[in-house]
């Protein structure tokens, strides 16, 4: 904190001061800086005031009575399906995530896994797990043999974990996306820049070959197909062309 002008490091120290992130010693340094630099003192005052404004605007919520619907949700043994545009999608994920429970959750309904469904499920699962810094997967890529055996067994159709090294992706690992009724495997890969892609595999109980189908949701894109007994979807944040190239590579690796 020798430079008294607006360099970023100094601003960051001021933010950290406002947010209580500093040690006593560091706080003293910032206070000394504020004493000799009115601009620094003003910034700190501004940001503290912003914190107060946020509290003033939203703390009232803490004293509101809890709405009936929320109290009821807590009393339920488990979730009720509700008709809301995005819950319908969430239900698809839940079905995938909790296949065993899911069948019961949707009162015995089990949606057939079509290629489009799998693409959507891959988009959802990717958006949930790709952001996980610490636990994106259950079994790390280092245990590839175990991962392959375990997920093949649970999915019900044997497959080979695709090696995407040539495409620039390293296997992070995998996880199971459901219980007994809708088993699916998620494999996650990461490139050198930390960009992640997911490959989701399921066994829909039919034997057919389909074309590749692209689906987009915001910045995410998925490409799904069925090849024999195995339905496959690749999801990630990229443009259509690279997704097609990557999907074809996954297709070939699974075949070979």
């Amino acid at each position: 904190m020798t430079n008294e002008h607006n360099d970023h490091m100094e601003d960051w120290a001021l933010h950290a001061y406002v947010d209580g992130e500093l040690s006593a010693e560091q706080r003293a340094e910032v206070e000394a800086l504020m004493a000799r630099d009115p601009e620094a003192a003003r910034k700190v005052a501004d940001w503290k005031r912003q914190r107060e404004f946020l509290k003033t605007a939203f703390d009232g919520v803490l004293d509101e009575p809890v709405p009936q619907q929320l109290a009821a949700a807590l009393r339920e043994r488990t979730a009720h399906p509700r008709i809301s545009p995005w819950l319908a999608m969430a239900a698809a994920v839940l079905l995938l995530l909790f296949g065993g429970l899911g069948g019961w959750f949707l009162k015995g309904e089990t949606a057939p896994v079509t290629v489009a469904d799998l693409g959507q499920q891959a988009l959802e699962a990717h958006s949930v797990y790709a952001v996980e810094v610490r636990h994106p997967v259950e079994v790390p890529g280092a245990d590839k043999d175990h991962l392959q055996a375990w997920l093949s067994k649970r999915v019900g159709t044997a497959f080979k974990v695709p090696d995407l090294t040539e495409q620039g992706y390293t296997l992070l690992g995998g996880r199971l996306l459901s219980g007994d009724e809708g088993p699916a495997a998620l494999l996650m890969y990461e490139d050198q820049k930390g960009q992640r892609v997911s490959v989701v595999l399921a066994s829909p109980g039919t034997d057919m070959d389909t074309a590749l189908k692209l689906q987009e949701s915001g910045k995410l894109i998925a490409c799904a197909w069925q090849d024999g007994k195995l339905a496959v979807a690749v999801a990630g944040e990229m443009a259509r062309d690279p997704m097609m190239v990557l999907s074809k590579a996954v297709y070939e690796k699974l075949e070979g």
């Binding site: 970023h8 601003d11 960051w12 933010h15 950290a16 947010d19 209580g20 992130e21 009115p38 601009e39 003003r42 910034k43 501004d46 940001w47 005031r49 912003q50 914190r51 404004f53 946020l54 003033t56 605007a57 939203f58 703390d59 009232g60 919520v61 803490l62 004293d63 509101e64 809890v66 709405p67 619907q69 929320l70 949700a73 807590l74 339920e76 488990t78 979730a79 009720h80 509700r82 809301s84 545009p85 995005w86 819950l87 999608m89 969430a90 839940l94 995530l97 909790f98 429970l101 959750f105 959802e124 958006s127 949930v128 952001v131 996980e132 810094v133 610490r134 949701s217 915001g218 995410l220």
Partner: protein
Amino acid sequence: MDFRRQLSAELPVLRRFARALTGDPALADDLVQDCLERAMLKSHLYDASRPLRAWLFTMLRNLHISGIRRSGRATVVKTVDDLADGEGAVPPEQENRLAAGSVSDALNRLSPQHREVIVLVGLEEMSYRDVSEILGVPVGTIMSRLSRAREQMRQLLEDRGYTGLRRVK
């Protein structure tokens, strides 16, 4: 403590977080409800050595983001860059009587990325480290988003006539 009782204890804070994240009371409570349902279904995945609140925030925030992605709802009405000079300004005599609505309105104009950081740090008082885990990005990114978000908030509040936030040139 019973998991449901723990959830119940977090409910007021969870509602505040959702309200600030969405700016819409009905939407916020829908999110909270879905978050609770999901939390109960996934309770076996909760690592009890970590704070429940951060786990719930992560879940609620991810539900919110996938809601935005899917429907385009809650997109930013107007970002700070779109604002013409003085648009939305209130007469100077109202300064220092900043209505809660103005803060909420200013938050609405931030990008979702800036908004969630300023809400988690400034309102929910989460540590940078916790916010980094909740959002899945490094602490350095949190700090630069926070810095930009606060600068935009300052400008937005100033546009709404709150001159107390004006920087000395």
